[in-house]
Symmetry: C2
Amino acid sequence: MSTPLPTASIITIGDELLIGQTIDTNSAFIAQALNQVGIWVRRRVAVGDQYRDIQEALNQESVSSDLILITGGLGPTSDDITKPLLCDYFGGKLIRNQSVLEHIEHLFTQVYRRPGPLLERNIKQADVPDNCEVLPNAIGTAPGMLFRKDGKIFISLPGVPAEMKKLITDEVIPRIVKECATASIQHRTLLTAGAGESILAEALTNFESALPKNLKLAYLPKYGMVKLRLTYIGESELTGKALLDEQFLILSETIQQWRIAEEDIGLEVLIGNWLKEQNKTMGTAESCTGGSIAQLMTSVPGSSAYFIGSVVSYANRIKVEMLGVKEETLQTVGAVSEKAVREMIEGGLKRMGTDYMVSVSGILGPGGATPEKPVGTVWIAAGTKDKIITRQLNLRFDRSRNTTITTHQCLLLLWELLKTNEG
Amino acid sequence: MSTPLPTASIITIGDELLIGQTIDTNSAFIAQALNQVGIWVRRRVAVGDQYRDIQEALNQESVSSDLILITGGLGPTSDDITKPLLCDYFGGKLIRNQSVLEHIEHLFTQVYRRPGPLLERNIKQADVPDNCEVLPNAIGTAPGMLFRKDGKIFISLPGVPAEMKKLITDEVIPRIVKECATASIQHRTLLTAGAGESILAEALTNFESALPKNLKLAYLPKYGMVKLRLTYIGESELTGKALLDEQFLILSETIQQWRIAEEDIGLEVLIGNWLKEQNKTMGTAESCTGGSIAQLMTSVPGSSAYFIGSVVSYANRIKVEMLGVKEETLQTVGAVSEKAVREMIEGGLKRMGTDYMVSVSGILGPGGATPEKPVGTVWIAAGTKDKIITRQLNLRFDRSRNTTITTHQCLLLLWELLKTNEG
């Protein structure tokens, strides 16, 4: 990865990022957008709302990056100090921008419908350094700003994710494409399940040692699966595509026994596409996951075409009344049992009238354990009226991670069932 | 914030962080843990799997930070280059650590139950630089490593969140507390709803200008609410506590009309605690949110004491069959209507037998809009058998953010209802 590509740094500003109160999701979006136009993000730096630290970051990042993206610190409150600093740093002075002011007035009167005159602090958001190019923020009050210094481009954007995203897509990327001689960065990702990192790496030893210089393989474990990502970085889009086509095919064949999908796709999309194509429907009967499988499935736009609904039977009473689980089952083997998840499938299919059903019951922790069923004991099932498959999980993480893994393992089990019903 | 506290930098390693494939959640955890023992995180830096970039980050961060935490790059696959680099950087050489090796053998045979002999690449995880202090990783194969150079402490940890967290808690923090003369960083956070950042800032103009030097106020907008965080950074824990007590009281009174809670607490915890204290139960009847309210409520350990269940009626058929919404309602005013969410409350209360119920039906986008009901039209309700309150939302974001905001607005509405039923 030593091709002379245009490189970028992302600087995020805000104490909330340094005390762990907020997780930075902006940088991931920006990095993806820059990658797509052939710009390699070398570094991401988060600094607090401190003049000296922001200044130091600007100095350091401009040494080796061609493009410096800054997010945050542009709000209407006094903990935001970015704008005065940018004035000092680039030697400009604040002037009121009439078109930004009109836009702010429009937002407050027409969109937010806030009564009364504009506050002084909102009017001040229309003040921008006189040596920047203003990037209009269609859905918020703080505009983006583009500066140039010593052949480098600096772009400052608000930290509100929706506003930042729209500015990147509509204003930043088109300008960058026009100005930077962009190279080519291409990724191709393969999704696997059923083998850990070391097993995969063992199977791929020969593949990796024979990999051409400008290709790189990465292992990304996630939710009990492993993504394999092949990246090309180089000058030619065509060469990159050809190399990736060739090597990706070998990669995919080498690990085919664990292959789930040949793209970086969520199980919720993979399953959704399959159901849509086959014109089938599904639902979920969830206990310990509390609706998280339903939530993941419906996070996909258009999922109403195949996702019918869910019964979250957190209390045993609901398992009996709304899913037809037998009292006897609960009293003999308990709610966390193969029998219970089977009955949840049967009841769910009957009451929701779907083609497929997923069910789950378990103890995700920290409480709820019994001598026979420690924390992490989970039963999952997937079924149709003709066939039900079940599996027991023994998880060993915290509640939140146990929930996420269980959710994905349920969808993997459903995927297994869908594949056996194919063709 | 210019007190001479021990300061830290966090370096995260991995191309996946730079191409936007992975969102860094590790840093937030580390920052919180360090803050609690009086160490201020100055900077967080993410770099790729490149020797030179990692080296540069180590050089830069050790200039002004006392403690440098490094995560990632320690896996068993060849894209992980951190360990050789640490050898070069601190002038050590790799030696096999017997106790780490035994631990790895134990994990593979007893915990993972993997058949056959250890792979060479797993054995190599027991190789550590001979000049580091080994920090045992109880739940994973890659140990943590502590180095000292020029009066600074460097700690390298695996990137797997569960392993990193356990190492921070069990190994890193106890060592740091013993070694660093820790100062005091204290935060107090207040949760508000119903006013934007500028309105709050306007109400707090006098408060902010009278704030003592070592206190700082931050505004953190989230899910349609705003958190106000007051931070003390200084040398004395007692002075800090006294100052915070005094100023937080004024802050809280000044904005009391928008105050929801006097701590940094999620609505799901706030509501859960209330229900538990009053010995009441709740359930949800969700359409467009697809189970996300149930999922948020059940993310709290012990929520089975008050959360009974949920019907996710994504298809209209389920609204009728499982929640008793009238066919006539769907045909006249439609599923996205005040009438429908009222009937969902009534049906939900009856079928699930809870004291409280929340319901929601809306169009979160990008598809599903009609001329009368644009994307972002959402009806929400909260009710008991005696009283139902409803509200219409008009959201203007993408599907994912619309879902999150709707989820929180539903819980805010429920909170409003709970407060009127108090005492």
